[in-house]
Symmetry: C2
Subunit: 311 residues, 2 copies
Amino acid sequence: MSLTVVGSVAFDALETPFGKRDKLLGGAGTHFALSSSFFTDVRVIGVVGNDFTDAEWDVFKRHNINTDDIERVADGKTFFWRGKYEFDLNVAHTLETQLNVFETFQPKPSEESKNSRLLFLANILPMLQKEVRESSKADFVAMDTMNFWIDSMKDAVIETIKVVDCVIINDAEARQLADEPNIHKAAKKIMEIGGLRALVIKRGEYGAALFTKDAYFAIPAYPLESVFDPTGAGDTFAGGFMGYLASQPTIDEAAMRRAMVYGTVMASFNVEEFGTERVDRLTHSEINQRFSDFKKLTHFEEIPFERATSA
Amino acid sequence: MSLTVVGSVAFDALETPFGKRDKLLGGAGTHFALSSSFFTDVRVIGVVGNDFTDAEWDVFKRHNINTDDIERVADGKTFFWRGKYEFDLNVAHTLETQLNVFETFQPKPSEESKNSRLLFLANILPMLQKEVRESSKADFVAMDTMNFWIDSMKDAVIETIKVVDCVIINDAEARQLADEPNIHKAAKKIMEIGGLRALVIKRGEYGAALFTKDAYFAIPAYPLESVFDPTGAGDTFAGGFMGYLASQPTIDEAAMRRAMVYGTVMASFNVEEFGTERVDRLTHSEINQRFSDFKKLTHFEEIPFERATSA
């Protein structure tokens, strides 16, 4: 029962219609690790600068997240992103990106990280994802990517896909990767790249879909009237998904379906407050309660129809 | 067990990336009636011109749809719509609209139509919808509408909503009607207009959601690799939904949830071929098979999570 993630650890500054924050703990690696820590033992491979303080380390500590593989650069600053969301929170604008120590990030997995049963390659340069995957002995490896890499180095993205078990991306990325507007045709093309056991497509407020060799599974999103900050929702979903799988003895279709729901549940908490605030103080009973609510809101009975009169 | 629909009966001309048709039987009333005829006895209130031939009447006859309340205007032509879909079938362009006999359409429900247990007001002028509703003794009345009426006569749309039990619209219309981008807040505002027992929000390839006073239910769409013609999908959904409800002794939450799935199933067949072609030759066993497939592709087990180690 262990899981390693390689990805960004960052500071975010945000403006949303509901408020403004100048410095929030963020980054894909952070959101993923925090979410998955509710299900399994997690290690993070990443890099931070000298501006990373005890307040930030404490968030990791509180959730027993192992940070031995987070490199600390004494004369550098942590990756910083400033963004703004419109009233329609689906529309995000990047106002500022300072890569800082992340620009020359070279992951250095320890033996313990290499021995993790599961590995998640968050959105970083595809060549680095491939290196980390190839140094790892993990049984089940999943990856994310983004439009920027698909645009600028699609071949490298595809070479990385070939060495993982699962791809977790959003629907626009799936369409772009497959160059195909129909999401089911796009999924088929991505599954045919080779080696994949599963493809998870995240659709934001519309839910998520799981494609495996023999099955298709789809769920809606958890209904939320108040979304405060969508930053990190995708990584929190991936953290719930991979964290839950890490807790299961067998990674089969049934476990992956439950993992999809746990991912959905974790992401729904993440967006309720800024940054990591909500997930940081989450409890297992809140998670199980929302899973149970989700079961109810998707439940219907199968009763075959018989026409009483002639049709 | 009976259902009446008031709505357009039309000819459509279509161009899609998959082909072109010059004259297809179409219209909201037609798609709705055809779909619901698999579940209940249906009557259509509408109007056609002298260009409506036996070939068209035969489609209604084959499905035992009562057409006594379809007025035939001897010196007029049937409502005609010409449209074009882009490669991404979500993008539709209207190339030509000839309202013809539909322009001065004045619904004249017979006693039999007024005595229907259920009534569906397809997308026509909201004042006409209200008139038909007020002349009807139906127990359960649902309505559709469109962006054009919400834009140009929102008050009239709202007055009609006040006298029906259920609104069935797409998500862009719901956001527009409530002037609210969050779909859950929008739904709450629409439910508060008064009198509504249910609000169904259709989300195309993303599925559909059902809002009732005490519950929320959401389902994904049925997965389709080949969508040929999305025209009429919404009305076919509504036909499956209302037709199934008409077949049930009690219209409760459980029946409405199954009706959502039957609506989804019917719509999924409709888009597989042009116009009414696919639904016209559909069988009950195909419908039940797809319902059963849908149950499988949304199924997951609820197993509360317990962390083995400390979190």
